[in-house]
């Protein structure tokens, strides 16, 4: 609460008062009066500050609104700027002469306009309005933690920061149809198939003629094509097209590898946008759209439907999926503390108060005896006890009489030991003063007899006291404070707090979750301790297989399955997916695979040789890059070949591909399929 400025003023006032009251007071009362007046000033200022603070605390209202195109909305849209308006009102009775009201903007989001903070006089019932603009390039979530209010007095003696926690997650929905947020106005070619041709031609009970075939006994007579029958001189039956709309199921890969990258620019965000566009294009064609999100462990199905509520739900699911961040994994404690501690201090300043989150001295002491090898310390203690035993036995003899026989037999050994020590001590220099020599003799004897225990105590002390110094003390203090807050948030027990202090992995994992909950970026470890790439998840192929087979089993008509996944990195582990695609194709479903293309891998047509300066090839980094690019392209070509072989269509999506181009390509593929 007290600032450095206030502290120095208090020290000066205190010193002047003390001098005035004691030494200079008699002859120069003005010194004491000056000091007393300064202390009175300080006390009154502090009293006013505390009164204002206490009477305002808990009486501050925060209202947050998201505006898009001047209208209040509940969700934002990616690619369109939205205005955040926060109204903070002091409902207390006290007025604050100086306050900074700041809305905490979402992590890793750039402010496009306006200001997130206002310096105001915080008067009762006078709202303070903060407005700023945000724009997200991709779908995800805006995480608003709350409003920070910093209070100070006019002289700058006192300061207090409070944080009004009002966490709100605002979904950033994928853009409507194209990346510019506009409905597709132009028509590159017929989105709807020409009259009489259905996109997925199969016999049904529609009104359009599909085909003519030989009559099979049991066919209804009304379906006989009489003219054709007359021409062929045999019964021919008409087959009509099915007019049931196509169901399109999107499979979106949300695995860890897809979440890598800057916020709003991950492959997952890109594919979410594509999925959103496909869903909206399909809905525009009166098709039903479903969504299946899958990762390395599980899949989540949103059944196909066609109404507006369903579309919004689908977009929301895409936004939530896009907001997921990769598991930082294998983090060390220190880097996590370095990121998590300031964040926790910012968001939970009230929970860092020593009255509720204490730091006793004992927290820093490093107990030697608790360590695995601490028992060694008992050996010198035991040794000292043994060498001091004759003294104890002597007291026993004096008080209780003769010793037991077995003790009597070993007593000469002890006497020999004491005699031995005494002979050593006698070698010490002598002062010839009896009064000095006797205490010196006793002290030397004591030291010799108790040397081991003295050294042990010294070692125990040095071991323990080290905990009070850097780097042990600061990290332990922070771990305790953070651990208590984590335990509070999770409903933990005191044992959990202690575990956070001692168990590095447990702490690092929880700190990682804490940061992820607050959408804070953590440096992600790409490789594990053994140097393996952490994000190669072959298990997602099996999950996708299960999801795809499940969709096939639920399908009633020919359906369109669009798989938006990074399958390139799976390499030879694609077998499960191929099997599922083969099953889908055998049931006459259409399967389309859309693969995200990394931005750092140049797009090249198959067979196109890369022209690289031979001199550059001498650089190891360039060589590695070329090898990686070539490897990636080869894997993609192999994947494409294998998927095409089982009847799926493969598309790749680069960061630069506009959504419209993808849709056109998609439509072309669908059209081609339907016009087979």
């Amino acid at each position: 609460m007290l600032t450095a400025r206030g502290l120095w003023c208090l020290i000066v006032a205190g010193t002047v008062t003390l001098i005035g009251l004691t030494t200079a007071g008699v002859e120069h009362p003005i010194v004491a009066i000056l000091g007393i007046t300064l202390i009175v000033w300080y006390l009154v200022e502090r009293l006013l500050f505390t009164l204002r603070f206490r009477s305002t605390l808990g009486k501050i209202d925060v209202v947050r609104e998201i505006l898009q195109n001047g209208r209040v909305v509940s969700n934002a849209w990616s690619g369109i700027a939205c205005t955040i308006r926060v109204t903070v009102t002091n409902r207390g009775k006290a007025s604050w002469p100086l306050a900074i009201v700041m809305d905490r903007p979402p992590e890793a989001r750039k402010i496009r306009g306006g200001r997130t903070e206002q310096t105001v006089e915080f008067r009762p019932n006078e709202p303070t309005v903060i407005e700023y603009e945000l724009k997200s390039s991709g779908p995800g979530i805006y995480r608003f933690e709350g409003v920070e209010i910093r209070l100070a007095d006019l002289a700058g003696f006192f300061y207090k920061r409070i944080f009004l926690r009002r966490p709100v997650d605002v979904l950033i929905l994928p853009p409507l149809t194209d990346s510019e947020g506009k409905q597709r106005a132009d028509k590159r070619f017929n989105v709807l198939p020409p009259p009489g041709i259905h996109r997925l031609r199969r016999p049904g009970s529609g009104s359009e003629l599909l085909d003519l075939r030989d009559y099979i006994p049991g066919d209804p007579p009304k379906m006989i094509a009489w003219k054709a029958s007359a021409k062929k001189d045999k019964l021919i039956t008409k087959e009509l097209e099915s007019d049931i709309p196509v169901r399109c199921t999107l499979f979106l890969d949300t695995s860890q590898a897809m979440r890598l990258g800057p916020v709003g620019e991950t492959p997952l965000c890109r594919l979410s946008e594509v999925a959103s566009s496909i869903a909206q294009a399909a809905a525009a064609n009166r098709d039903l759209v479903g969504l299946t999100l899958f990762d390395e462990a599980k899949f989540d199905v949103l059944p196909a439907a066609r109404n507006t509520v369903h579309t919004i739900r689908l977009l929301s699911k895409l936004a939530e999926a896009s907001a997921q961040r990769p598991d930082p994994g294998g983090q060390q404690v220190k880097p996590m503390v370095r990121i998590a501690y300031p964040l926790a201090q910012e968001l939970y300043p009230d929970l860092f108060d020593r009255s509720v989150n204490s730091q006793p001295w004992g927290l820093f002491w490093k107990p030697l005896l608790d360590t695995r090898w601490g028992w060694i310390a008992w050996i010198p203690v035991l040794f000292s006890l043994i060498v001091n035993a004759p003294g104890v036995l002597g007291i026993y003899y004096m008080l209780l009489g003769p010793l037991p026989k077995w003790l009597q037999s070993i007593m000469p050994i002890f006497f020999e030991w004491i005699n031995f020590c005494a002979r050593i001590v006698r070698q010490r220099p002598k002062s010839n003063y009896l009064l000095l020599d006797i205490p010196l003799f006793l002290f030397a004897m004591f030291l010799l007899l108790n040397l081991p225990i003295t050294i042990t105590v010294l070692v125990w002390f040095i071991h323990g006291i080290r905990g009070f110094f850097s780097p042990h003390a600061p990290i332990r203090r922070k771990r305790k404070q953070l651990g208590a807050i984590f335990a509070l948030l999770d409903g933990g027990t005191p044992a959990t707090v202690e575990r956070y202090i001692h168990d590095d992995e447990f702490f690092a994992a929880r700190a990682g979750r804490f940061l992820a909950d607050h959408h804070v970026e953590v440096p992600v470890a790409l490789y594990d301790g053994d140097g393996r790439y952490r994000f190669r998840s072959e298990s997602k192929a099996e999950v996708l297989q299960r999801a795809l087979l499940g969709a096939v089993s639920r399908a009633r008509d020919n359906e369109l399955f669009v798989i938006l996944a990074d399958l390139t990195e799976l390499g030879d582990d694609i077998a499960a997916v191929l099997k599922a695609v083969r099953v889908a194709r055998s049931r006459h479903h259409h399967v389309m695979v859309i693969v995200p293309w990394p931005s750092d891998v140049p797009v090249a047509e198959p067979g196109q040789a890369a022209s690289i300066d031979p001199m550059e090839m001498l650089r190891v980094a360039k060589l590695v890059q070329v090898a990686l690019v070539r490897g990636y392209r080869q894997r993609y070509e192999k994947l494409q070949k294998e998927l095409v072989r089982v009847g799926a269509t493969v598309l790749r999506v680069t960061d630069r591909d506009p959504i419209r181009a993808i849709l056109d390509r998609l439509d072309r593929v669908r059209g081609a399929r339907s016009r087979r």
Binding site: P29, I100, A495, D503
Partner: protein, 314 residues
Amino acid sequence: MTNPNSYQLYLKVLLDERVRGYVMVAGCALISVFVIQLSTGSLIAGGIPMLIGIVAMMLRWTAMPGFFVVAVAYLTVNPFGVPMSRYSGGPSRLLSSSFSPFDMLLVAAVLVYLHAQFRVYSLAQQAFPDERVKAARSKRDSLDRRPPRLISDNELLMMILFAIGTTIVGQFIWLLITQLEFDSKVFPPIRLRRFTLDRMQPDFFSAAVSRSLLFALGLSGTVGLARFVFWYWQIRQWNREEAKLLLLDMGWQESRREFSRIETWRAARIVEQRKPGETWRRIKKTGGRIFTVLFFGFVGITVLMIIFAYLIIR
């Protein structure tokens, strides 16, 4: 690009029409101090505080107001800058020390100057402390100031009235502690001071100690009471999370020692299970090295001592 904390910016704020009032009031207070101190007959007594005040205002040295108070106090006692004994009326001076017009004016002027100076610092330099860690700070980061637009019309007047009020309260307190004295022979041990010329025998408490004790007692009583009231108010205002954390923390404090032992063993066990021999490696790597050296050093020294002693005896 202009440095947001540059001196030009500071001067620009000083010349702002709203801030100018504070600067002028601070200047007037400094002149008042100068004139009052000049009445002691020393130019140094008046000049040095004024010089410090001007430096504080112009060069934005935030430690200067503290030095200003110390200088005023010191030069009041020693107007020529060097300690010399002066007769100022003896104990009878105390009787008339409260509500002396010169003293009141001096104290009020000092207080007004301090008020104005610190408010100018808030307006032109920094109003809120920077809470960021040092590594995250940069000289180019703009410090949080109080915008001059927030200065209300009656703020200056209120400040002066507040300073005068504080001065009067200070005088009352001085009057109180000079008129009362500590006396261990009576109960309660406070009584009215008697100023008589025949009091040759010193009391158990000297006047200075008595004044100090009275002031300390009053101050600690007031502060203690205020702290108690605000402590209770704070507890009443605790939110659910704070109360839960308090209970959790108390539980932790009670059982910390046991849990610590369990967790130390658990951590060692986990490490040992994953990588056998890791505990020993960690012990060697961290503090265990010191322990090992000391332990084996002790064993070695003891053995050497015994051998040496044995050789001497032989």
